[in-house]
Every structure is written in C-alpha cells, then in structure tokens.
Subunit: 197 residues, 2 copies
C-alpha cells in the first residue's frame, strides 16, 4: 500500500534552522506512515531567473505538490504579526477547495480575538453605536472564538480535520512539534495507518 | 447571456463604512457586466448559534459562493500588519485550486520586501553567513519583487490574471476603487464584456 502523501505547510523555510526543523517534521510524518510532500526550495535552480520568475517557479512547484497530496498539515502559529503566515493560509484554502483532508495547529493557545485586542489594539477596543466592537481605527473586532480568520478554522472543520492549539514555551515556538504530532495522530486514524512503533 | 459571477474578496466587512464601500464595489462590478457574488453577513441569522457556529456558517456560505463564481477579484491591501487579510489569502488559494480566473489589487505601491524591511524590522536586516538576508530574529527576509507572499502573486499570474499596485492617499486606503476598477477592466476584456457606458 502506498503511503498517503502529506503536504507539510508552514513558514519553517524562513527559520534560521529551517533545514533541521523541516527534516524533523518529515521524519515524524514518516514515522506515522505518511509520505511527506512538498518542495525543497534549494532543489530549484534560480540560474538565469529574475527574483520574480524564481518566486513563480516555487509557487508552481508548491501548487503541483499540493495537487499530488492527500492531506495538508498546516502550521498556523502567528507569523510576523497576529495571524498565520499568509502563504500557508493560501495553501489551506487551496487544499480545502480540492476537498483534501486538512489539519492545522498553532503553538499558542491565545485565540485570534485576544491577539487582536491585546497585541494589535493594546486593549483600546470598545462597543460603538452600531453594536459592533471596534478598534480606534473604526475596524470591527470580530470574535468567533477561533484560532484565526473564520475561513481557516471553518475550512478545516468542514473537511473533518482538527485545529490543535498548544501553548509552548516562547523559546520553542518554532521547534516544538507536539501539536504537529497531534495532527499526525488524528490523520493517521483517519487514513487507517498503524501506530508508530 | 448570463453575467460572469465575480466573487469580491477583501477585508471590507471590517470597515466602519463597510456597507457603503461594499455597495460601491458591487455597483462598479455590475457596470462592467459582472454579477457581483458573495454573501452579506447580515443576511445570515446568528440566532441560537454559538460564536464559533456562526463563524462556521459564514465560512460555509463563502465557500459555496466561491464555487458558484467564475472569477475572484481580491483586495490584497495590507490589513492589520504587513500582509493582506488572511481570509482573503485563503480565498485566493481556494479559487486558484478551482482554476477560476483570479485578479488582485493593492492600494500601496510598496512591495512586500519593503514593508517587511521597514515596517516590521525597522531596517534592521543584514546578510548572514549562509548568504541569506535575515532579521534580528534570524528569520529570512525574502525578496521576490512581489506584492505579497509568492503563493499569492504566483497563483494569480498562473491563472492569467493581473495584480494591480496603486499608491493612494492614506485617507483613501479603503475607499479608493481605481485599482479595483483596473481589475474589472482587465477581467471584462477576458470575459468578452462590452465596455461600460
């Protein structure tokens, strides 16, 4: 039986120790019976390409890898702001449209509403005349009790996946793989894989 | 002939004058021959639903509207940080996976690299021993000359759409619809629609 192919999405490529973290994630996926899928950017040759053309080559390779995958496991830990990495969000949407199994995790237990209220607005939100809660810039402060934007949480839920929240030590925000492993465990049950030995 | 259905994506629902801006966008889309598609959140009844369940209802309605649309026009103006609205990014990915026509625009001419370097890292980026440019947090600073993450720019390019950049007055960041209209104009040519009268 061929292994289900798992597209491992997340902003790990930007980390200073990206190769080590990505290798750990691939090994863990393998141990649960999945074939980790996705491109290694260093395998793509930028020779003779403009910066834009090289970026496009990565995009095309990622889209192809997603179409060839049975599920996505997305790291939705907030990245460079209060929301998940936007490229990862694109990829979750991509896989949801294809109806593939979708799993997500975040290494913070704080919901989007708290990050928006405290980290972005520093508490300065208030109910306004129209009944909505808004920031000083007039923007509506939404609260759906979700990890991030409702399209992400909703899309994963619709496809029967799980979205794991774990609070990890700040120093381990990008290296702690327990929540990633929670996703692997749930997906392994769904795909009828044996437990790792 | 029935009008092509255009899914109008963007964070406008959060604006203090959301109803007016959304109405203007819909009227403009109509004037170019498109049927504006998408849900009006106020038409969904939250009675008896938890916050999460209501969010999920919105997500389901949006996914259904996207599947019933011929193209997406996405407002990718940076929202609550240096990147586009993450829900909109999910939606662009969703439509790219379905192979629908995708158009995007942003009301700032500054590319992602500049926003990352100046707004997020306040200039504190440097080349490191591995040859990559990184911020003080060790994260790689990518530069593909793109509007945002390469999955967004790349996905739109792959489907033959355009991604319009316009620098507007700061006060008009969310009300200026010239770049949106650039997308409508390009999409109207592609869908063989007559020019607006």
């Amino acid at each position: 039986m061929s292994r289900p192919r798992a597209y491992l999405a997340g902003p790990e490529v930007f980390l200073s120790d990206s190769a080590a973290v990505i290798a750990s994630k691939r090994e863990l996926a393998l141990s649960y019976g999945f074939q980790p899928n996705g491109i290694a950017e260093e395998e793509l040759d930028p020779t003779g390409l403009s910066l834009f053309e090289f970026g496009r080559r990565i995009s095309l390779a990622n889209e192809k890898a997603m179409r060839g995958s049975d599920l996505i496991i997305a790291n939705l830990t907030p990245f460079r702001g209060i929301s998940a990495d936007i490229g990862t969000a694109f990829e979750v949407g991509f896989m949801c449209a294809l109806g593939r199994a979708a799993y997500g995790y975040t290494n913070t237990a704080r919901p989007y509403f708290e990050r928006l209220r405290d980290d972005y607005y520093h508490g300065a939100i208030a109910k306004t005349a129209d009944g909505a809660t808004r920031g000083p810039d007039g923007m509506m402060v939404e609260d759906h009790g979700m990890v991030d934007n409702l399209m992400l949480d909703g899309g994963i839920e619709t496809l029967g996946g799980i979205l794991v929240r774990r609070q990890v030590e700040p120093d381990n925000l990008w290296s702690d793989l327990s929540a990633f492993e929670d996703c692997l465990r749930a997906a392994a049950v769904r795909f009828g894989l044996a437990r790792p030995t």
